[in-house]
């Protein structure tokens, strides 16, 4: 029997390291003789530094250097952009001038022998500013929305304006309409691990132990900022303590750590404070959206309008896929989407789990729910009546689409039939009970990636790629992929990631790690097998000597002639006779013809049950059930864990998370893990994740669609729709708060 590793619920191969404290994250790589750097953050929201006397704190105990715009080296900041950087605008240049562009911008770095000395001196640094009032309220009158430049280019993933048919007229003339506005709060990723970099120079060579979801880009970005050859920079990051997008970009603190280390000619450790993680390391932008739906009395969508605006900074145009889902989610002849940006005096936003889709789908799925009540049609039935046969925006078939199967499976597991349709019709004692559902979707991306496999004389295999594992279980799932294609037991495969000098991979985000890196590992495994077979055939002492490689086949790690029943020879046999390890690289990318031919997305259906206390307005989520069509599931244990974790993130988005800015100076007033509310253990309801059987031969050789984002997308509208069902109160602002319920 062939052992199948893909599909096996294996526990994490790195689990023992994580439970013993032996998994080393960026700030754990203490270096001999390291100094500690602390960033001083601007305490005004806009303006100019007029006075900063670094010398006044230089004589404080332990202080090694005070680096400000007065004495910082001028950095080349050569042009460099990766796919995760905003296409328009220029990254923040730190300590290069006296300008303050947003509250919390780094304005100085204090370096000392100990952390305490550095913190104390940093706190004592006096800075004077010529301050102006920043504009930070996205919904304020002073904000002027702009057309994002990159969204006007042909082929842009999110288009500023996209239209088919006559959407506005169709909505206006429709028998049944919904036309509402939605406001979703700014969120911060708040991973448990603060951003951290330890920088160490050896001459003109720089090593960074740095928290990054995109090692090869961090390498390239720092090389560009310092004007170094790429090979002079090495980034190491074997473990990431959660990130959710915040470590996709290389933020200013990485530059500052390297700058400080060069300034004092010693290794420097720089860890952001939790408060600083609300300033300069990205955020899910606050979005304002309008959805207008028009439908026939039978529930056929006649027109859909989706207009959305996201925050960005003054210096970069951050774009996300806010309006994309509306293009392909349902069948509708008349659809218009519009995407704009609101430049504010804040730092640049960044991708946060389900970027764009999570916010866009809250609006569209809240509106669909609202439409279902107006029509008197069950919400699932409404979606069934608008299930498209193809992606009507692209006019392409879906490579696979299991949305209706997801609704069927999810409804059955959730017990949707127990729901009575009328709002406020279900109670548990005093509590109002509500059940809601919503669609989840996310594109099935696949980016070019490469990997390397090395067969060793002890019969084991080493697999390497510059990938990351921020929590989904990359170490484990990639080991499973390699074991599957090599036919080796899992314990004989060692997968290594987290070094920029390993074969190049795309960013660890966008739910494309398994599709991209997994496919590259598969290719490398097949290539190393081909090399080993050639070597065996060419080896006069091998039982397969002289065989045509085409006549040989691998099965469970053994090479034999096709149809032969002999035991065959193992990797061990071949490598030992070769005398050196056998190594091969492989890479994979999506066939452009496939991309041309198919629309590729994952779909899911999320169900939530809430209990609302009618007297005090508290909302408790009681259950969430999600059913997903995500292609092949490599490890169901990890996949379910990722899904339930995403649901918890969605609960935060729906009911808790909001970064509140003081309009006077742009200061985030709740930059603290007790004031920025997030789900804690006691908030957690029963959570179930199910997967429909879905075979998609088109997306990539592994048939996987990715899971990280869709796990969160869809949860917030399911909860919002459940709150409406419980109370009859439709809340179109996230997070939904107790105050919103008091009038319910």
């Amino acid at each position: 029997m062939t052992v199948r590793f893909i599909g096996s619920p294996h526990t994490r191969v790195d689990g023992p390291r994580k439970v013993t404290g032996n998994a080393r994250y960026a700030a754990d790589f203490n270096q001999a003789g390291q100094a500690y750097a602390v960033i001083v953050s601007a305490t005004v929201g806009l303006g100019r530094i007029t006075e900063m006397d670094g010398a006044s704190i230089e004589r404080m105990p332990g202080v090694v250097a005070v680096i400000t715009h007065h004495n910082a080296e001028k950095l080349p900041y050569l042009p460099h952009k990766a796919v995760i950087d905003p296409a328009e605008g220029e990254r923040l240049h730190v300590l290069q001038d006296d300008q303050v562009r947003f509250y919390g911008q780094p304005v100085a770095v204090v370096v000392a022998d100990t952390l305490d000395d550095a913190e104390r001196a940093a706190a004592a640094l006096r800075i004077s500013y010529d301050a102006r009032r920043p504009i930070v309220d996205h919904a304020g009158d002073e904000v002027k929305a702009i057309v994002p430049d990159a969204a006007t280019r042909p082929g842009a993933r999110t288009l500023a304006d996209r239209s088919r048919g006559e959407a506005d007229a169709a909505v206006a003339n429709a028998a049944v309409k919904v036309d509402e506005n939605y406001d979703i709060a700014r969120e911060n990723h708040n991973p448990m691990e603060p951003h951290a970099t330890i920088a160490s120079w050896n001459g003109e060579r720089l090593t960074l132990w740095s928290k990054s979801q995109y090692l090869v880009n961090e390498q390239a970005e720092i090389a560009a900022i310092f004007g170094l050859p790429l090979e002079n920079v090495e980034v190491v990051c074997p473990f990431i303590g959660g990130a959710f997008g915040t470590s996709l970009r290389t933020w200013p603190h990485v530059t500052l750590a390297a700058l400080a280390a060069r300034h004092i000619r010693r290794p420097v450790k720089l860890v952001l404070t939790r408060k600083q993680m609300f300033f300069t390391t990205g955020h899910r932008p606050r979005t304002l959206q309008r959805i207008a739906l028009g439908a026939t009395p039978e529930g056929a969508l006649a027109g859909m309008v989706h207009e959305g605006t996201g925050e960005t900074s003054r210096y970069e145009q951050f774009m996300e896929a806010l309006t994309n889902v509306t293009d392909y989610l349902y069948s509708c002849p008349n659809v218009r989407t519009q995407y704009r940006l609101a430049p504010l005096d804040t730092s640049t936003p960044n991708h946060m789990r389900g970027p764009g889709e999570a916010s866009g789908i809250f609006a569209i799925e809240s509106a669909m729910d609202e439409l279902s009540y107006k029509l008197g049609i069950d919400p699932i039935e409404l979606r069934r009546r608008n299930e498209p046969q193809l992606d009507e925006a692209e006019n392409k078939p879906f490579s696979s689409r299991s949305l209706m199967q997801c609704y069927e499976l999810g409804a059955e597991r959730f017990g949707w039939t127990q729901r009575t349709p009328e709002p406020r019709s279900m109670r548990d004692g005093r509590l109002l009970i509500g059940m809601g559902t919503a669609t989840a979707t996310y594109p099935a991306f696949h980016a070019p990636a490469s990997a390397r496999v090395r067969l060793l004389a002890d019969g084991t295999a080493e697999v390497e790629a510059a990938a990351s594992d921020m929590g989904p279980g990359t170490y484990t799932s990639m080991s499973q992929v390699a074991a599957e294609f090599l036919g080796l037991p899992l314990e004989r495969v060692r997968f290594r990631l987290g070094r920029s000098d390993y074969p190049q991979t795309p960013s660890h985000g966008g739910s494309w790690t398994m599709a991209s890196v997994g496919s590259a590992i598969r290719a490398a495994c097949l290539e190393v097998q081909a090399q080993a077979a050639r070597r065996a055939a060419a080896d006069a002492g091998s039982p397969l000597s002289g065989a045509s490689v085409d006549d040989l086949e691998w099965s469970e790690g053994l090479l034999r002639r096709r149809g032969d029943t002999s035991p065959g020879i193992s990797y061990h046999d071949i490598v030992v006779r070769a005398g050196v390890p056998i190594e091969a690289g492989g890479s994979a990318q999506r066939d452009p013809k496939v991309a041309e031919q198919y629309s590729m997305h994952a779909f899911g259906a999320v169900f939530a049950e809430v209990a609302v206390d009618p007297d005090v307005g508290t909302i408790a989520v009681r259950r969430i059930v999600g059913a997903y069509g995500i292609g092949r599931v490599v490890n169901p244990l990890l996949a379910r864990s990722q899904c339930t974790g995403g649901m918890i993130g969605g609960m935060g988005m729906a009911l808790m998370e909001r970064t509140a800015l003081d309009p006077r100076d742009g200061r985030p007033v709740n930059a603290h893990m007790a004031d920025y509310l997030m789900p804690v253990n006691l908030d957690i309801p029963e959570l179930e994740a199910h997967f429909v059987d879905e075979v998609d031969p088109h997306v990539n050789p592994l048939g996987v669609k990715g899971l990280g984002e869709i796990a969160l997308v869809g949860t917030a509208p399911a909860i919002g729709n459940a709150v409406f069902h419980a109370t009859g109160k439709r809340v179109r602002t996230l997070p939904i708060r107790i105050e919103d319920m008091l009038t319910a």
């Binding site: 526990t11 994490r12 689990g15 023992p16 390291r17 994580k18 439970v19 013993t20 404290g21 032996n22 080393r24 994250y25 700030a27 754990d28 203490n30 105990p61 100990t114 952390l115 305490d116 000395d117 913190e119 104390r120 940093a122 706190a123 004592a124 991973p191 448990m192 603060p194 473990f239 990431i240 303590g241 959660g242 860890v271 404070t273 939790r274 408060k275 921020m470 929590g471 279980g473 990890l638 379910r640 864990s641 974790g645 649901m647 918890i648 993130g649 009911l655 808790m656 603290h672 893990m673 007790a674 004031d675 509310l677 997030m678 789900p679 804690v680 253990n681 006691l682 957690i684 959570l687």
Partner: protein, 215 residues
């Protein structure tokens, strides 16, 4: 939600049913240790406002002797009196298994056992614990065998990124020792001081329940 489960500073994973060591308020800590000595535990803004009123302490950074028994090994140290117990573990002793998640006592990632009680080590000064018995995540594995709670965290998927995991496990040990692991509901309550942003909570509860059942 988080603010329904506030803790006293220094007290991990519980909800205010605290003994003498944990009833210290931040103000009390400041008064006991002197302003400069507490800067490490405060945000810059707070530190700045206090240093304005109480000026400088001349020997703020002067090292003082401290004896700790860490995972069964006696350590004679010279510590800066401003150093938190967390920073002494991580930066002085290079025991980096214990994590700094927020340095504000709000996330639980730095939870360790001090004299058998779970505390958040970021909110307590090392020099206040002379003679203390400290247990950290590094001390649980014995003779190459994982502690049953460590094993349970692996088996029940009680982790994803792993960063909160040392704190969760140390807090779980405290939770079990306190007799607060009698039911999943009870575990959820008494483990709510440890945030897991990946949302591995169901596995964490299952792991603590499993280990509590075994012990």
């Amino acid at each position: 939600m988080t603010n329904q489960h506030q803790r006293s500073p220094g007290e991990a994973g519980t909800n205010g049913h605290s003994g003498p060591a944990s009833t210290l308020s931040r103000r009390t800590v400041l008064q006991m240790a002197g302003s400069a000595a507490s800067l490490a535990a405060m945000s810059h803004a707070e530190a700045q406002s206090i240093s304005e009123t109480q000026s400088t302490v001349a020997d703020a950074g002067a090292a003082r002797p401290l004896q700790l028994t860490v995972n069964g090994v006696s350590r004679e140290l010279e510590v800066d009196p401003r150093q938190s117990l967390l920073d002494v573990l991580r930066e002085t002793l290079d025991l980096t298994g214990t994590k700094k998640g927020c340095n504000q006592g709000a996330c639980g990632a730095c939870t360790i056992l001090v004299n058998g009680r779970r505390i958040v080590s970021c909110l307590t000064l090392a020099s206040m614990h002379d003679g203390a018995e400290i247990e950290t995540i590094e001390g649980l594995e014995k003779n190459g065998e994982l502690h049953p709670l460590q094993q349970a965290f692996v088996e029940h998927e009680g982790l994803q990124c792993g960063f909160c995991t040392p704190g969760q496990i140390m807090s779980g040990l405290g939770c079990i020792a306190e007799g607060h692991a009698g039911s999943p509901e009870e575990i959820r309550f008494w483990m709510s001081g440890n945030i897991c942003r990946c949302g591995a909570y169901p596995g964490i509860v299952a792991a603590v329940a499993d280990a509590a059942g075994r012990s």
